[in-house]
């Protein structure tokens, strides 16, 4: 029988857990690829002015619809002679912004509601459950399209619509977690010790749902990224001439036979971007969720 090495015990348990999680994460190559790729997309979005070879709107009428590599345009140009690569790089800003901020918005709105429903139960729980059902009854895109119609088409409003669209699902997740956590011994102990509800929720309930929320956030982001592309494609999101992958795809539809690559490259960008967050999310779920057996 082995007794724990005192050297190991000396390290605080939280640091040890973190080290264990990191080790488990690094053992999953796909998750690491996802992390690197997602980080790259975020960096590119932030550093667009530096990494993009051209501005997004510079037109080069000597080189319209140029194929890749021609005239110093790595991915070619569009019908106005604008550099494809630069437009994709600038376009990543809209995608990342919509993906990240709509998810943050959804979490900020949904988590407190879900916690209240799950922790207090009582009459408030079924009320929130029905309201969630009502929101879920509207197909995501119909809801987003409706909101875009009410608020007017713009990136901010698309982000708002996407965030609200993700709220009902997140409420359910947060409610489920709070429901499970209220039965935990440390929460009961805090209740027995007379801790106030606010401090219990803030100190014991919320922090313990963190891993679930992180996983949930990582899978909401790619959905929102695709959602932004769809809305912009339909003309309900980013308005041209501001570059966005959805707008680029929409523009490319007129040139499917002459220059199909105009539709291919932005699509690949959307795909890789959402794939990277999905890979990351799957990896995090495996690492953080003790219930998954693998």
């Amino acid at each position: 029988m082995s007794y724990a090495d005192p050297g190991v015990l000396a390290i605080n348990p939280r640091a040890r857990r973190r080290r264990l999680l990191r080790k488990r994460f690094l053992r999953r190559p796909l998750a690491v690829v996802g992390l690197v790729l997602a980080a790259t997309f975020i960096l590119v979005a932030i550093l667009a002015p530096i990494v993009a070879p051209y501005s997004a709107s510079t037109t080069d009428f000597n080189a319209t619809l140029a194929p890749p590599f021609a005239h110093h345009h790595l991915l070619g140009t569009d019908e106005l002679g604008r550099d494809q690569l630069s437009r994709i790089i600038w376009g990543s800003r809209a995608s990342i912004q919509a993906g990240v901020f709509s998810t943050l918005l959804a979490i900020v709105v949904a988590v407190p509601i879900g916690i209240v429903a799950g922790y207090y139960r009582g009459w408030i729980d079924p009320v929130i459950a029905r309201l969630t059902d009502v929101l879920l009854a509207f197909p995501f895109l119909v809801l987003a399209v409706g909101l875009a119609a009410i608020l007017g088409p713009s990136l901010t409003n698309a982000t708002l619509a996407l965030g609200l669209g993700a709220v009902p699902g997140l409420i359910r997740v947060a409610r489920g977690e709070a429901l499970a956590l209220r039965e935990e011994d440390y929460v009961r102990a805090a209740v027995a010790n007379g801790a106030s509800d606010v401090s219990i929720l803030a100190r014991h309930v919320a922090p313990n749902m963190l891993s679930t929320l992180i996983v949930q956030a990582t899978v909401t982001i790619p959905a929102a990224i695709i959602g932004e592309a769809v809305l912009s494609f339909l003309g309900l999101g980013v308005q041209p001439p501001t570059p966005s992958w959805g707008v680029m795809l929409s523009d490319a539809q007129s040139y499917l036979s002459q220059a199909p690559r105009l539709a291919i490259f932005p699509g690949i960008a959307i795909f890789l971007c959402s794939l990277s967050f999905n890979l990351l999310g799957d990896g995090l779920r495996d690492v953080l969720d003790p219930r998954t057996t693998r």
Partner: protein, 317 residues
């Protein structure tokens, strides 16, 4: 059983009523005076107020809502900008989308369930990794882009299939299917990825269950252990997922119909928004929400029929 049914139907009704209120208020929140849109070019105040009066727009909101709902229950959703019956337009467009959705569910569940079972049975083997990876790709690929790519390849380059449009089934079944094939695959992709992942995980749970061990200990063939004992229980969970995916399916239909120029329900939604046709929009959104609620109620009932535990003990659980 009776109590269980009643509770489910009651909850669905409450959701429907709240949803209709939300639709009504939402459409009223759209900026712009609907009377202006309805009155067309005519900006004469007298005409506008006549229009307002005709459509009941001068009445208090609750009264307008009550009128709208009482008519809607009787199947009258009003008339759109072109004085066409909204209900009739929806009834014309809906079957097209239902065909598309039906084919997509067929494609999605056949591929998803088969791949999910296969991955679970071959867990940890190359087949599993391949299926899991393909599912992740299926989840990440924006399906409207997939539609564009398919058009580029199969319609523009190879010219095997039409790039878009719609031919009624009654008119020419072969052409109808030719037009529906690509859209159904595009719409089914996401569903099959979701179902595959769900199927894999519930199959894994089932395969690890004690009753599957019992089935093996009885000396049953691997086929009946997997195909009968494990599959039955996993399929029960997967039925609910198909219901929950309906929202995603309608969303997908909106964009798929846009790309393939199919004059279905989804395209109607976008048209209603673009034309600022409030009566039409409010009817379309109401029908979509009602459809979701009704289908999920139906799925709940099917679930309770498939799962003997709920069927008998019902409300007790």
């Amino acid at each position: 059983m009776g109590g269980f049914l009643l509770r489910k139907v009651g909850a669905a009704l409450i959701v429907l009523v709240l949803a209709s209120m939300l639709v009504f208020v939402g459409v009223r929140a759209i900026p712009g005076d609907p009377a202006l849109a309805l009155g067309g070019e005519n900006r004469d105040p007298a005409v506008l107020s006549a229009v307002r009066h005709k459509y009941g727009l001068d009445r208090p909101l609750p009264v307008q809502y009550a009128r709208w709902v009482s008519l809607a229950v009787r199947g009258d959703l009003g008339t759109d900008q072109r004085e066409l019956s909204v209900a009739r337009t929806i009834v014309q467009r809906l079957p097209i989308t239902l065909e598309l959705a039906g084919l997509a569910i067929l494609v999605g569940s056949v591929i998803g369930i088969f791949a999910g079972v296969l991955a679970a049975v071959r867990r940890g083997k190359p087949t599993d990794y391949a299926a899991t990876t393909v599912a992740l790709v299926g989840l990440s690929v924006p399906h409207f882009w997939l539609g564009i790519v398919m058009i580029i390849y199969f319609a523009v380059k190879l010219q095997w299939l039409p790039a878009g449009g719609y031919v009624p089934f009654s008119h020419d079944p072969i052409q109808n299917l030719e037009h529906m094939l690509m859209p159904a695959i595009v719409l089914g992709t996401g569903l099959s990825a979701v179902l595959m992942r769900q199927m894999r995980s519930s199959m894994l749970t089932a395969l690890g269950a004690d009753y599957v061990r019992t089935a093996r200990a009885k000396g049953l063939s691997e086929w009946s252990v997997i195909g009968k004992h494990a599959l039955r229980n996993s399929l029960i969970t997967v039925t609910t997922v198909i219901g929950l995916q309906l929202g995603a399916l309608i969303s997908g239909a909106v964009i798929t119909e846009q790309i393939f120029v199919i004059p279905g329900f989804g395209r109607l939604t976008i048209d209603a928004v673009n034309q600022r046709d409030y009566t039409l929009l409010q009817g379309v959104v109401l029908v979509a929400a009602a459809g979701y609620v009704v289908v999920n109620l139906f799925v709940d009932l099917v679930y309770s029929l498939l799962n003997p535990r709920i069927r008998v003990s019902g409300a007790a659980r």
